[in-house]
Symmetry: C2
Subunit: 371 residues, 2 copies
C-alpha cells in the first residue's frame, strides 16, 4: 500500500475518484495476515483454508436501522464506531462456529457528502477491532466502495476450523449451558443513547453512561473463546445477537432439548446494571434476559468439561423425548419439519416458564418470538 497525503479536512467522498478513495481507505486497514495469499487489488483475494474447509458469514449495518448518525442523547457515531461494530458482529458469528477468523471483505455504500475522514476512520476502526477482539489472524482483503442515498456497510468474514464446526443443533444429548461475554449492557446502552439529554438517564453518572454507550456502539464479543469452547468439547454454540432468552430458545429448538437457566448465575450481570436500572426505571433483568447485540457466546458443553477462562455455567440442557416435546403434539402431516422447528425445545428459568418466573411478560410479544 502506498500512503497518500490525507485529503484536506472536510473533503467529501464525492470529490474523489474511487482510486483516490481507496488510497484514503487502505492505509488505515490491516490488509495482510498469515492467511492472505493474494490481498486487495485484483478481481478477488485468495485466502488460505487449512483443512480444506472455510466458514463464511455476512452481516449488514444500515444507518437509522443499526446505528444513528446522531443519537437522541447527542452522541455522534464515528466511522471507527461503525467499523468496530461491523467487525464485531461478523467476527462473533465466526467464533460461534468454533472457528478462527482469517479474512474479511467489506462493501461500503455511502452518500456523496460522507467525509473522507469518516471513511478512513471506518477502515481503522475495523482493523483495530481485529486486534482488540481477539481476531489477530484476520485481515481485510478486499471490498467495494460505492454510492447510495444512505450509509450501509456489509462485511463478509471467512474463518478456519480446527475440528468440526459447532452448530446450534448439536445439543441433543444435553449438558451444561455456558456463557462468555456481557449480558444486557448493549441494550442498556441503546436505551441511554436513545434518551434525550436532559432526561431519564440524568441520574446515572457520566462514566457509567459512557461505558454503556460503548457497549452498544462497540460490542466486545470474546472472539478467541469460540475456538477454545470448541476445543473444550462444545456440542452447540451461537452468539447472542437477539437476547439471551431468544437465543437460548434457538439452541433448544434446533437441538430439540429443554434448557433451564439458573437465575443465580445471571445475578452478577444483573448486578452491574442494577444502579442504572433503578435510576431510569427499568428492571435490569429485562436487559439481561432480552437485550440483544452483546454478541457474547452461548454454548452447551458436556457436563464434566472444564470451563475455559471467563466462561460461566448459566444453566443446564437436557434431551427431550424424540417426538414428544411438551409443545410438540401439534405436528400435522405434511408440515412436520416446520412444526418441529417451531414447536420443540423449551426454555425455563429455575424450572418455570420465563413469564411465570418473571411474574409478567418478559417482553411484550415473547410468545410470538420466532426461533
Amino acid at each position: 500500500m502506498t500512503h497518500e497525503p490525507a485529503a484536506p479536512p472536510g473533503t467529501t467522498v464525492s470529490q474523489l475518484s474511487e482510486t483516490e478513495l481507496l488510497d484514503a481507505f487502505l492505509p488505515g486497514a490491516t490488509t495482510d495476515g498469515p492467511h492472505v495469499l493474494v490481498g486487495p487489488g485484483d478481481d478477488c483475494a485468495v485466502i488460505a483454508a487449512p483443512g480444506e474447509r472455510v466458514v463464511v458469514t455476512t452481516d449488514t449495518l444500515t444507518v437509522d436501522q443499526d446505528f444513528a448518525t446522531v443519537w437522541p442523547c447527542g452522541y455522534r457515531t464515528t466511522g471507527a464506531d461503525v467499523g468496530h461494530k461491523c467487525a464485531a458482529q461478523n467476527l462473533a458469528d465466526i467464533a460461534a462456529m468454533g472457528a478462527v477468523p482469517t479474512a474479511m471483505v467489506v462493501s461500503l455504500t455511502m452518500p456523496g457528502d460522507t467525509q473522507v475522514a469518516w471513511v478512513a476512520e471506518f477502515a481503522a476502526g475495523l482493523s483495530r477491532a481485529f486486534g482488540e477482539l481477539g481476531a489477530a489472524e484476520c485481515a481485510l482483503v478486499g471490498g467495494d466502495l460505492g454510492w447510495g442515498r444512505e450509509l450501509s456497510v456489509t462485511a463478509t468474514v471467512l474463518g478456519r476450523l480446527e475440528g468440526e464446526p459447532v452448530l446450534r443443533s448439536g445439543a441433543g444429548r444435553g449438558g451444561t449451558l455456558v456463557h462468555v461475554g456481557v449480558l444486557g449492557r448493549a441494550a442498556a446502552g441503546l436505551d441511554a443513547l436513545q434518551t434525550p439529554v436532559p432526561g431519564r438517564w440524568d441520574g446515572v453518572p457520566e462514566p457509567e453512561r459512557t461505558a454503556l454507550h460503548r457497549a452498544q456502539l462497540r460490542p466486545a464479543p470474546p472472539v478467541s473463546v469460540g475456538a477454545e469452547l470448541a476445543r473444550a468439547g462444545a456440542i452447540a454454540m451461537l452468539d447472542i445477537s437477539d437476547g439471551l432468552l431468544r437465543d437460548v430458545r434457538r439452541i433448544a429448538r434446533a437441538s430439540g432439548v429443554s434448557i433451564d437457566l439458573d437465575p443465580q448465575a445471571l445475578e452478577p450481570a444483573v448486578h452491574t446494571l442494577a444502579h442504572a436500572g433503578e435510576a431510569v426505571g427499568v428492571d435490569p433483568w429485562q436487559w439481561v434476559l432480552t437485550g440483544g447485540e452483546d454478541h457474547g457466546l452461548l454454548a452447551v458443553l458436556p457436563v464434566d468439561s472444564p470451563l475455559p477462562s471467563g466462561v460461566r455455567a448459566i444453566g443446564s440442557c437436557a434431551p427431550l423425548p424424540r417426538e414428544d416435546g411438551p409443545r410438540g403434539g401439534g405436528s400435522s402431516a405434511g408440515n412436520g419439519a416446520r412444526q418441529r422447528r417451531h414447536e420443540r425445545g423449551t426454555v425455563t428459568i429455575a424450572g418455570r416458564s420465563p413469564r411465570q418466573w418473571f411474574g409478567r411478560d418478559v417482553v411484550e410479544g415473547w410468545d410470538h418470538f420466532e426461533p
Copy 2:
C-alpha cells in the same frame, strides 16, 4: 427447506417477520451443492475449499446507482433481473481469477414496502443465474435480510482454484490478448433503457432493443471459461466491468506491458451494434471500446496457446523495459510505487494512441481514467 404457501399477492416485506421472509426467500434458492458442508441456518455456512485455498470477492448493487426501479424507457426492473445481475458480476470476478464459483452469501437491504414476491423472484433469479452462466457448482449458503430506505444488495462469492490464481499483474513476459463474451452491448442497452419512449431509440426494432436491454439487465459473463483460460495457460486476466480500454489499461499497468489492440478483431462486435448505433446517433466503436458491465473476460495467453472455444485474439501484449516505460520517467523518490502503478503500461490501437486512432477523444476524460 420447508415450502410455505406463498404470501398473498401484494404482501410487503414489512408485513412479515424475518423468519417468514426467509421462508419466502429460501424455497426459490439453490442452497445445496457439491461444496456445501453446512448450509444456511446456523451462524455461518461451512464450504469445502479444495487445495486449502479459497478465492473471495464482494460486490454491491444499489438502486438508482446500478439499476432503476423504473427506467426512463418504461421498463420495470424485476427481482429476477437484480438477482441475475448480482450473481453475474460476482461470478465474473471469480472466473477472472481462473477459479470455479462454489458458494455465495447475500445481504439484501430493502424498504418495508418491497413486495414479498419481488424478494422471492430475486432469490430465484440469483439461483437460476448459477446454471445459466456456467456456475453449476455454486450454491447460496447464507445471508442477511434487513431494512433500509433504499434497496441494496451485496453478494460475496467464494471459489476454488485448480492451479495458481491468474492475476492482472502476470502479463510481464507478453503474449496474445484474448477476449470472450460480448463488448459494448450492456452500454448500448443502458442507453436504450435510459431513453424515454417515444425517443431516439424508436428506429431500432423492438426485438433488438429488448435484446440490448437484456444485455444491461442480465449480463452473461462466460463464467466457466475462466478456469478454461487458466488451464490454457493464461498469465493475466480480469473481467471487463468498466470498458475494454480501461480494463486493458489495468492489465497493462499492473503488468508493466504495452498492449496493442487489433481493430479488425473488434469489428464483429462493432458490427452487431452498427444498426442500433446508426439509428440512435452513436458510433458503435464508442460502445465497444468504452462500454462497461458486459463482464466478458480479458486475458493474456502465451503466443502459442490454443484458444478455448469462444475465445478470440484481440491484440498483442509486449514487455516494457523495466524502468523505462514511455511515460515512466516521472517516478520520483519516495513515491515510486504509485508512480509505477499509475504511469507504466500503455495501450494502443493498431499502434496508435486511442485518441489518434479514433480521431478524437474516445470518451470525455479518457486521459483522467484511473487504472
